[in-house]
């Protein structure tokens, strides 16, 4: 669980907040990008096409048909263990909620995607590095159950440092719960497309994100079980170039396609239309 990196980055962002951020530096090619240009370009660097992290709301805008999204998520987290590290979990939650503008690290709801009735769930990295605790697990599970009940296709966009430490064993159990829920969907032959974005690691990769009918990854995304820092510490060697990136996973047979964000909606639409039972006879 490479959460340390996330916390460090968060702190850096917090300090810089006083200065209006008009420009963003591309982490890949160092180009200075005017923020508005970046946003209008789906958060892809106009110079080198590096895919920067995309806010959850923008994801929904990009994937759901205009005006079709109807939010179903909204559960709030609790502190089941009374977890205190250098700061109480409840304090952290308050801060994350303020920063992300939502109760936990997920948002989702009913929508159509290319006309196909769907359930879309999007994780939010801005909230505790997209970590999965009870709320994320329950929202995913409810989303899957709703899709099964209403004959909807399921699309989940993952971005996560893994299971949330502050809910310990209960976070771990969300891996089982979400995975079990997917059986309900499969029993009705409804398609599930999992989209892996930068980064997707730990307990999210090792549960619902990895067992979809079709798994797509955005270019250059870090995807894996263990975080690179943990692996480096374990084997005491440098990691090969491109290790755990989307293209590496494609080469090793773990994802179906690496898809440019600008083509993501079209690709998802085609897959859903080909697989969803209700569209079998009247596809374009």
């Amino acid at each position: 669980m490479a959460l340390e990196r996330l916390f460090r980055r968060r702190r850096a962002q917090g300090e810089a907040r006083d200065i209006p951020e008009l420009w963003v530096k591309c982490p890949k090619c160092d180009a200075q990008i005017y923020k508005k240009n970046l946003e209008s370009n789906l958060h892809i660097c106009p110079k080198c096409a590096h895919h920067l992290r995309m806010p959850a709301n923008k994801r929904i805008e990009m994937l759901a048909d205009a005006g079709s999204f109807e939010q179903t998520t909204g559960l709030k987290p609790t502190d089941p263990l009374g977890f205190v590290d250098t700061e109480p979990y409840l304090k952290r939650l308050e801060r994350y909620q303020k920063e992300a503008g939502r109760p936990d690290a997920i948002v989702g709801g009913r929508c159509t995607i290319g006309g196909v009735e769907s359930m879309l769930l999007v994780m939010d990295y801005a909230f505790a590095g997209g970590s999965m605790g009870s709320v994320v697990g329950e929202e995913i599970t409810r989303g899957v159950e709703l899709a099964a009940q209403e004959n909807r296709a399921l699309v989940i966009v993952s971005v996560s440092g893994g299971a949330r430490m502050q809910e310990a064993a209960l976070s771990l159990m969300q891996m089982a719960k979400t995975t079990l829920a997917l059986d309900r969907l499969w029993a009705k032959r409804l398609p599930y497309v999992s989209i892996l974005t930068d980064p997707t690691t730990g307990g999210v990769t090792a549960s619902f994100a990895a067992i979809a009918d079709v798994i797509l990854a955005e270019p250059g995304a870090l995807i894996g079980f263990a975080g690179p820092r943990v692996i480096k510490q374990t084997i005491r060697q440098d990691l090969p170039e491109g290790f755990q990136r989307s293209e590496f996973l494609l080469k090793h047979g773990m994802v179906d396609q690496v898809v440019d964000r600008r083509k993501l909606k079209a690709t998802v639409t085609t897959i859903l239309r080909l697989l969803h039972p209700r569209t079998v006879n009247h596809a374009e």
Binding site: M165, M173, K177
Partner: protein, 326 residues
Amino acid sequence: MRRRQPQQGVPMPLEFEKPIEELEAKIAELEGFAASSGVDLSGELQVLRERLAQLKTETFEKLSRWERVQLARTPGRPTTLDVIAGIMTEFVELYGDRTYGEDPAVVGGLARFEGTSVVVVGHQKGRDTKENIRRNFAMPHPEGYRKAMRLMDLADRFGRPFISFIDTPGAYPGISAEERGQAWAIAQSIQRMARLRVPAIAIILGEGGSGGALAIGVGNRVLILENAWYSVISPESCAAILWRDAREAAKAAEALKLSAPDLLSLGVVDQIIPEPSGGAHRDPATAIANIKQALAVNLEDLLKLGPEELFEDRYRRFRGLGQYQS
């Protein structure tokens, strides 16, 4: 008590065991002297034995979560193969994942338990350093989980109960494991086990390290030994991230609420299997007998359910886990 082999990272004896072991040594020495010299020391010995009993009670009845974690890792604790040998007969070990290779960190096969033919799988720690290296300290690669899934197929096909023993620091975090889809193997194993139409019982023997443990932990019943732990992350790794110092592991162990009583109250486990005073390594035979008894009772219950009932029972068990507000 069995002779313990030194192992990396595990002080021996454990810090809180030292006064006990010193006193035990002193008693043994006096007993030896009394026997060889013929001097009657029974009065002195009696006093020392009483003090020992009192010291043990004081030490073992108020173990911290971190001390329990250390007990869970201590050499001499029964491993999966020890338990299989102790409670089952006709064990036929089956090797390999039929895809890539054989992972010695996961063992499994066919066996008979109290007259019932079962399929059994478990993480396997080494009983000495050499074996631990061979078994990668019970940290499986994807092929370990694929072996487990193959055995789950076998259990379903022949309608045999599936028994798993959990004892791993975690799935192996390495290049080879990532290349071969560690996350995929774990997710698939969770799903495969959830789909079993036969009774599934998981028993946490020592360490329940995160997803690597859960991959074979989707039982209708999940039982845990008294001093075993089960968590989303090890105390050391948690401390390294949240406290930025792995030496704060004791604090992390407390915060993670990873002990058997914690897990029982959270509903993560269904039953605690008692260990002999001071931990399973002090009297493995008693620990193994307790495991046998708990397994027998739970298996008998589950054998009353039909295939679909077992599947739904498992679904319900995990569906209810988690705490949130609407």
